[in-house]
């Protein structure tokens, strides 16, 4: 059956091969070869992914799964971890987004990075390919540790690419910050894995999902709540949520296509994906779910308020990403897994589009990122403008563009599940989103051009274009950049149509497609016949004694498949609604939908009033709320707070107390002190050794007296 398709492992392997090529031979080949190889590598991954997804959807809904065990990775006692890949509908969506948008951004990069030297150009593409490889491992991994390989791997590539212009201190600082903050999340993720293995005896996603059918949702904050919370903390690192979001805005130090691919479309959504992948497990921990929803909503609101006042075009987009990720977590938290993943998918289009568009702007302005020095670019960069406009309308939530359907699905599900407060927060954020995005649009493309003076300004954020010739006319994006923009713009307009809700007489096909992935165990034994797991791996003989393990694994899986499907009732979708209730629901849903359209338009209107029609009014408002403005501009001083409360105390304690006092003073003091005592003791004893017989005789006499005196006194 599915065994005849192209091996899944090829999907990450192709970009990995591209990485090796550019990593090893990059300095010896021309730029066009480097770029071509990199694009082909990730494009090839897209093709292989598409072929696999094609054969996946040929299967009946309950059999949509393709697996490949490449070899046995870590074996220690009862801990047996295969390097195993698995494709299901959720994975299919992700893998297409990652490799598809990844390919577009690779193509875009060939033009964007063209001013780099040969070796640097190849280095860039080798990192970008490596990123694609790890991201695909993350998405395809069939168990937690394999996902973790991708999880940390993309973090590494993010580190390398943020710090790509390593000569800039701010860039390498930002890369290091990203890595370390992510490591804090990964620490919790590790603990989550240990808890999961101890509880379930497996780290395989499917096997865990099957075990979850034996549990009831936790009433108290118990083991499963802690476990899922640990995983969520991991997600807050990777997906830039409170309290670990601080690295993402700084990550804008990296080249803009990197921001588009890694810090908007793919890597930062990994946390959302991870929760979707373990939907059954998270559903057992309602307390954690509430935390996730709350953190998501708060992050969405907080980032939107910051985005409102930032002046760096990429930073606005970065905070917008944080905010949109907040929406996704809100969705996951209220159990609207489809909604969250749907928004992940539409967001990938319009946010990648806007980042690439901002890259085109920055490129045209020779590295300028400050919106206060832009303006009036509409006429000069028509392709960039029109595509960017599509993205802006899409994120603002104007129907029928992509962002509308996915965001509305989230807001509706939040409302429907009774989280009214969170819903209100979501609506406010929607209003702010429309405002700050149109503010960005107006400041960049409308108003008076302010860039004429800032031409020779040079290389802010862009490495080596200082000597770029001054040109009277700005150049719009060259074809390699324009075509990805246009494709993404089409996506931003149309991508939402796969999820038109039933309330609008749509078929919401994405929901029907994804839903089985969130409850893989519900279909029970029939869904995963033992034979599916026993698909012989083409390279099984690579690992020594893999045969034994395979047999072992087949046994375990065999046991699992016997487990009856019992969890049918604990789902989150209300199953037994009557027709009337459904009707009322539809009416409410439509009403709320209309409301969110109004909110979006109001936000746009506000932005139009202040930033297009009456820019001076905006300044007045800013001055009358100078305090608020300063707080927002400084991002609530969270970075400063972390530095003062965490970073500096640790550094100071380590240096002044641990090293100089404990290590050098106390411990070594004791050691050297011992030496000193022995030496001085020896020196004192030497005084006694005079060699004079009379002194010896006298001391013997004194000694005798002391002994006698002691006995007498007793």
């Amino acid at each position: 059956m599915v065994g005849t398709s192209v091996p899944l492992a090829l999907i990450p392997l192709l970009p990995f091969a591209g990485f090796l090529f550019n990593g090893v031979f990059g300095r010896k080949v021309s730029k066009s070869v480097s770029g071509l190889v990199a694009c082909l590598a990730v494009g090839g991954a897209f093709v292989v992914a598409a072929l696999n997804v094609w054969s996946l959807v040929q299967q009946p809904v309950e059999q949509r799964i393709i697996e490949q065990t490449v070899f046995w990775w870590i074996s220690s006692g009862d801990l047996q971890l295969p390097l195993q890949f698995r494709l299901d509908p959720l994975g299919a969506l992700m893998v297409l987004v990652v490799s598809g948008i990844g390919t577009l951004i690779h193509v875009y990069s060939t033009a964007y990075m063209h001013e780099e030297a040969d070796g640097e150009y190849a280095r860039y593409f080798s990192y970008l390919n490596l990123f694609a490889a790890f991201m695909l491992v993350l998405v395809l991994g069939a168990n937690f540790p394999v996902m973790f390989v991708g999880w940390e791997g993309v973090g590494l590539c993010s580190y390398l690419l943020i710090g790509f212009w390593f000569k800039k201190k701010s860039a390498s600082d930002a890369g290091k910050k990203a890595f370390v903050v992510n490591r804090i999340g990964d620490f919790a993720f590790l603990i989550g894995m240990f808890m999961a293995f101890k509880e379930f005896g497996t780290l395989d996603f499917l096997a865990i999902a099957e075990k979850t059918t034996l549990y009831q949702p936790e009433v108290t904050f118990g083991l499963l709540s802690v476990m899922t919370l640990m995983f969520f903390v991991g997600a807050t690192g990777k997906s830039a949520q409170i309290p670990l979001y601080v690295w993402l805005p700084d990550a804008m130090e990296g080249p803009t296509p990197v921001s588009a691919l890694i810090h908007a479309a793919t890597m930062v959504t990994a946390g959302v994906y991870m929760i979707g992948r373990n939907a059954d497990l998270f559903s057992l921990a309602p307390q954690t779910m509430l935390i996730i929803a709350t953190i998501g909503a708060l992050t969405a609101l907080m980032a939107a308020t910051i985005g409102l006042v930032q002046n760096d075009i990429k930073r606005v987009l970065a905070y917008s990403t944080v905010s949109q990720l907040g929406y996704m977590f809100l969705a996951m938290g209220v159990g609207a897994f489809t909604g969250g993943i749907f928004h992940l998918y539409t967001h990938a289009f319009f946010k990648a589009l806007m980042f690439l568009g901002s890259g085109a702007v920055i490129h045209a302005l020779h590295g300028e990122q400050d919106m206060r020095k832009m303006g009036g670019l509409k006429q000069h960069l028509p392709i960039t403008f029109w595509t960017f406009l599509m993205g802006t309308i899409a994120i603002a939530g104007v129907p029928p563009l992509a962002g509308f359907f996915s965001k509305d699905e989230i807001l509706w599900k939040t409302f429907e599940s009774g989280h009214t407060v969170l819903w209100v927060v979501g609506m406010i954020t929607a209003f702010l989103t429309a405002t700050y995005m149109f503010r960005l649009l107006y400041m960049t493309f409308y108003c008076e051009p302010k860039w004429a003076h800032s031409h020779g300004h040079g290389s802010h954020g862009h490495g080596s274009n200082v000597d770029h010739a001054h040109e009277a006319h700005l150049h719009d994006a060259p074809p390699a950049m324009a075509i990805p923009l246009m494709i993404l713009a089409v996506g931003a307009v149309l991508a939402g149509l796969v999820g038109v809700p039933h309330a609008l007489n749509g078929s919401n096909r994405i929901e029907a497609f994804l839903e089985p992935s969130f409850h893989p165990a519900r279909a029970g034994a029939t869904m995963f016949p033992g034979s599916t797991h026993a698909v012989p791996s083409p390279q099984a003989d690579v690992a020594p004694a893999a045969g034994d393990h395979a047999a072992q694994a087949a046994d375990t899986h065999g046991e699992m498949t016997v487990a009856p499907a019992v969890g049918g009732e604990h789902g989150l979708a209300p199953a037994g609604h009557g027709a009337e209730a459904a009707h009322a629901d539809t009416a409410t849903e439509l009403g709320l939908m209309a409301l969110s359209v109004v909110v979006a338009l109001a936000g746009i209107g506000l932005a139009t009033y202040f930033f297009k029609s009456n820019p001076q009014k905006a300044d007045q408002v800013q001055q009358s709320f100078a305090g608020v403005h300063r707080v927002l501009l400084n991002k609530y001083y969270v970075d400063e707070f972390y530095d003062a409360v965490v970073v500096q105390p640790i550094k100071r304690t380590s240096e002044r107390l641990l090293w100089k006092v404990v290590d050098a003073g106390v411990i070594d003091g004791a050691v050297n002190g011992t030496g000193f005592i022995v030496r001085t003791g020896g020196a004192i004893m030497r005084l006694v050794q005079t060699g004079s017989v009379r002194v010896y005789a006298a001391s013997v006499f004194v000694g005798v007296l002391v002994v006698i005196g002691y006995y007498l006194a007793r």
Partner: protein, 518 residues
């Protein structure tokens, strides 16, 4: 054929050969270097031959050889290896030629003596990992000290005398107590059976009164803990490392520290299971403190070599934690981490040595922007750094993952041990990446760094195998885990067979009532 003995003594035979070459004026330095390298490569091949002939499923000691050595006390020349000792022997065989090759540029005085000491050191180290007679083990254990003392004291940096004496005294202080315990065991054996014995396997079976066992365990554990080094017995290490020549640092970190953890695993724990089980939480506490403490102190070091030395304290803390977990995952992870640390820390010392050869300083502040000057060296530096901070896909991750998993599942350790230890994952990223950034990123600020040459062919040959191994051990860890599995399981079973003195500590995360559906 006596392949194991041959592996042990071939380096010393080679050293004797070198001793015969007249080289008063240093004119034959080149020949001696090449010969020493050749000999160590043959020795490495022999260790690989051991691996090739090793039955990975065999639970018993293999390549066993025994002959009477000292009749009166029944001391035997009794050697044999299991999977763990095999891997450590291969590691020794691997690192010795690499250290010799790495010294070609930096060791220029007394090349002959240097080479002889390195080869004798190899014999002693392989001997430590092969000895099954406790007395023989002790002899090899102390024999290691002598060449290392000279390597630091003669070929070291400025404060080499202080460092070498500190190293010697620290280690001796522990080993003397261990000798007492060894003799005590032999005497006990004589009282119970009528004859002395230093045979490890027979001593395993000895009935030792609880009080005596406790004292003996402490004596062994102290000796090994100094060697590891366990917090707070670690202060000899930074000094010894900083002052030692590159080869000394590589061998010291790569192999000699493992003698401590190997000793815990082979002797201290299985000889006195009850005492060890009772003390395990205490030792694990020190290990966990060491993980965090070592990392924090490493973070603020201005000297690269000292930074790497303190990071060793942190990494070895992981190894000891894994041992104290007394679970298969933990102990196997510990054994694996011993190999990893040899690769990653060995690699770091090699790289710091190369920088130091070029600039004659190891201060981080003296460098900066090296990536644009020597991209190849920095690429290797990056991979080794990532291996050291346990990036999945490289070797370090496998070890730390198994150790932490093992300690989480341990019945003698509370979950908080794992939680605190896992924070080392964050800290290691902080101190390593910070150092990496300051050395390699940014503009070249110091003119002295502008013209530094990138890797030479010789240096490439030194680093390439290390980097390759870091990748192979991360992607295919089962190649190395599998031969160790029987040995690990045997040790864990041995620890479990005797009931623990301490009651089983209730687990904090026991399933909450009501979560089980049916």
């Amino acid at each position: 054929m006596a392949l194991l003995s041959f592996s042990i003594f071939l380096p010393t035979l080679g050293a004797l050969l070198l001793a015969l070459i007249p080289n008063r004026d240093g004119s034959r330095d080149g020949l001696i270097r090449q010969l020493a390298l050749g000999i160590s490569l043959v020795a490495f091949a022999l260790t690989l031959a051991l691996w090739a002939g090793f039955d990975v499923n065999g639970a018993e000691f293999q390549f066993v050889e025994r002959t009477m050595w000292i009749d009166v006390f029944n001391v035997e020349y009794y050697i044999g290896i299991d999977g763990v000792s095999l891997m450590l022997i291969v590691l020794t065989g691997f690192l010795t030629p690499i250290s010799l090759l790495a010294s070609w540029g930096s060791v220029t005085k007394k090349v002959k003596e240097f080479s002889i000491f390195m080869l004798v050191l190899e014999t002693a180290m392989i001997g430590v990992f092969s000895a099954l007679d406790v007395f023989l083990f002790y002899v090899f254990w102390d024999a290691v000290l002598i060449p290392m003392y000279f390597l630091i004291g003669v070929w070291g940096y400025d404060r080499r005398i202080y460092a070498s004496i500190k190293f010697l005294l620290f280690t001796m202080a522990g080993s003397v107590l261990m000798l007492v315990a060894i003799i005590l065991l032999a005497v006990l054996h004589q009282q119970q059976t009528g004859s002395y014995s230093f045979d490890l396997l027979e001593l395993y079976a000895l009935q030792i009164p609880a009080g005596t066992a406790n004292l003996c365990f402490l004596a062994f554990a102290l000796a090994f803990s100094i060697k590891v080094p366990l917090f707070p017995l670690h202060t000899w290490l930074p000094d010894a490392h900083v002052e030692a020549p590159t080869a000394g640092s590589v061998i010291l970190a790569g192999v000699m520290l493992k003698m401590g953890t190997y000793g815990l695993m082979r002797f201290a724990f299985p000889l006195f299971p009850e005492a060890a089980t009772a003390w395990a939480p205490f030792i694990a506490t020190l290990a966990v403190i060491g993980i965090v403490y070592g990392a924090l102190v490493a973070m603020v070091q201005p000297d690269m070599k000292k930074l790497v030395a303190y990071s060793s304290v942190s990494h070895l803390g992981f190894v000891v934690l894994g041992l104290c977990a007394l679970t298969v995952n933990g102990v196997q992870g510990a054994a694996y981490q011993m190999l990893n640390h040899g690769i990653s820390t060995g690699g770091l010392f090699l790289i710091v040595g190369m920088l130091s050869d070029r600039r004659h300083t190891r201060l981080i502040a003296e460098f900066g922007g090296l990536k644009s000057v020597m991209p190849k060296l920095v690429a290797a530096f990056l991979i080794i750094t990532l291996s050291s901070i346990a990036m999945p896909g490289l070797n370090g991750f496998v070890g730390e993952f198994l150790i932490l998993m093992g300690s989480w599942r341990s019945e003698v350790l509370l979950p908080r041990f794992t939680v605190v230890a896992a924070s080392g994952v964050i800290l290691s990223a902080v101190y390593m990446l910070w150092m990496f950034q300051r050395v390699n990123y940014g503009e070249v600020t110091n003119p002295k760094n502008e013209t530094l040459p990138d890797l030479s062919v010789r240096e490439w040959c030194v680093l390439a195998p290390v980097v390759a191994l870091a990748v192979v051990m991360g992607v295919f860890p089962n190649i190395f885990l599998q031969p160790m599995a029987p040995a690990v399981e045997r040790m864990v079973q041995r620890m479990e067979r005797r009931p623990a003195i301490t009651q089983v500590i209730p687990q904090a995360e026991a399933p909450v009532a009501g979560t089980q559906a049916r």
